[in-house]
């Protein structure tokens, strides 16, 4: 079980009333750490996941410097001090 930092986008923090962007979470993998975050931060899951249970289409997740969509499951194992960052995918619009 690794202790890692989860960094959330400011719009999600503000709507949940969170004053900090960074939160300590635990897990052996990125998925486990996110599950831990959903338990610690009520209301977070609906903003990151859709009804399929997967991350929403325009939500990107990075493990340290690499998008998790480019990582294999084995490469998503966590070590103490890792950083998971949630970002809005680069998308056009208003």
């Amino acid at each position: 079980m690794a202790h890692v930092i989860l960094q959330l986008p400011t719009p999600v923090c503000s709507i949940l009333g969170l004053t900090a962007r960074s939160h300590e979470v635990e897990g052996a993998t990125v998925d486990e750490a996110l599950e831990d975050a959903y338990g610690r931060l009520p209301g977070l899951r609906v903003h990151l996941c859709d009804e399929s249970g997967a991350l929403r289409q325009h939500v990107s997740c990075f493990l340290n410097e690499t998008g998790t969509r480019w990582l294999t499951e084995d490469e998503q194992h966590l070590a103490d001090g890792d950083r998971i960052t949630i970002l809005q995918a680069v998308s056009g619009g208003t």
Binding site: P11, G43, V46, H47, E51, H58, S91, T94
Partner: protein, 350 residues
């Protein structure tokens, strides 16, 4: 009094005294989020719906607008199912039960003042569902009416589908569109395929309902069993919002040019009023911008306050809020330009 103006990028609160001439605008609340609907329950609790194309929808509740908290057990379709909830379109907050209409079209209810929500399967799993197709605004349940004298009797309007009525508290639903032109023909489902844009209940008779539809303006006197056109004097039968002042029974609508163009007719932004139950309509323009003003009013962006004289509030897609404090005889614009306005609700202090 306060007007909650929901926009594409947050909510703004306009406040005034009872004269409704001097206004202050503060905000945004929920900066960067779409604020798609709001309501205040008889207990005084506010319910405000937000949405984001990135981060999804949510519902927030609180006893004042500056102290809203996201509901954990809000309206939601089950994980692993086919339906996705993109936004809450309308909230009907009753004394004992609240309803939320959503996109993808469906209805949810709450019996604990908005803290937790359950689906209404009689509508969400309706036998006609396979014939429900999204319109330009999506596949949204955007209007919910409840008979004030009989909570078992409920109407729900779904865009590009039509109006449904339940007489048993939401257990079963029947399409109620007879007399309304079908705009999405489907031989398998002749009772739907109507594109209701807005519903306004009569202030005195629950079975009298006014309907702004894609195909024109209609009314019913029998709870939706039959509908008839009432378009005399309208510059166009096409439009989205409709509302009735509960005190004077004056009706308000904002005609725009056809489903193809969706712009004010001839560039003239002119809400219309009927003071005879829809028998005839008159344009209103005193104090509104001269042509060209090429923005319309979205279906949730018109409200009335029920005061004497009646206040009418129009939020436009150009981000202007126009207020009439005399039933529509004259108008003033608030001194601000906001993002595209999606929802407008008025909260009068008792």
């Amino acid at each position: 009094m306060a007007v909650l103006i929901g926009t594409e990028k947050g909510a703004f609160v306009a406040t005034s005294d009872a004269a409704r001439r001097q206004w202050q605008v503060e905000g945004p609340l929920f900066k960067g989020w779409k604020v798609t609907a709001s309501a205040r329950s008889p207990s005084g609790r506010y319910l405000v719906a937000t949405a984001s194309f990135v981060y999804g929808p949510a519902l927030h509740v609180g006893d004042d607008l500056s102290g809203l908290a996201q509901v954990e057990d809000g309206p939601a379709y089950p994980e692993g199912g086919d339906l996705k909830l993109s936004q809450i379109w309308t909230i009907n907050a009753g004394a004992s039960r609240h309803y939320a209409g959503v996109d993808q079209a469906g209805l949810f209810f709450s019996d604990d003042d908005g803290q937790s929500w359950q689906p209404v399967p009689g509508l969400n799993d309706h036998p006609t569902r396979k014939g429900w197709l999204p319109g330009a605004g999506g596949l949204c349940a955007h209007a919910v009416l409840v008979d004030p004298a009989n909570a078992e009797r409920i109407w729900c309007g779904i865009s590009a589908v039509g109006v449904f009525r339940s007489d048993d508290g939401g257990a079963t639903w029947v399409p109620k569109n007879e007399g309304v032109d079908q705009v999405v023909p489907d031989p398998n489902f002749p009772d739907i395929g109507r594109c209701v844009h807005g519903l306004a209940p009569d202030s005195e008779h629950a079975d009298t309902i006014f309907r702004q539809d894609h195909s024109g303006m209609y009314r019913t006197y029998d709870g939706g069993d039959h509908w008839e056109r009432n378009e005399a004097g309208l510059s166009s039968g096409f439009g989205f919002p409709i509302a009735m002042d509960p005190l004077t029974s004056a009706l308000y609508a904002v005609p725009i040019e056809s489903g193809e163009y969706r712009m004010p007719v001839g560039g003239a932004f002119r809400p219309h009023r009927s003071t005879n139950g829809g028998d005839s309509w008159e344009p209103l323009g005193n104090g509104l911008p001269p042509p060209p003003y090429e923005a319309g009013v979205l279906r949730g962006a018109m409200a009335v306050d029920g005061l004497d004289p009646g206040g009418v509030y129009l939020g436009t897609a150009a981000g202007d809020l126009f207020v009439s404090a005399d039933g529509g005889d004259s108008w003033q614009g608030l001194p601000c330009t906001l993002p595209r306005i999606l929802s407008v609700e008025v909260y009068v202090e008792e």
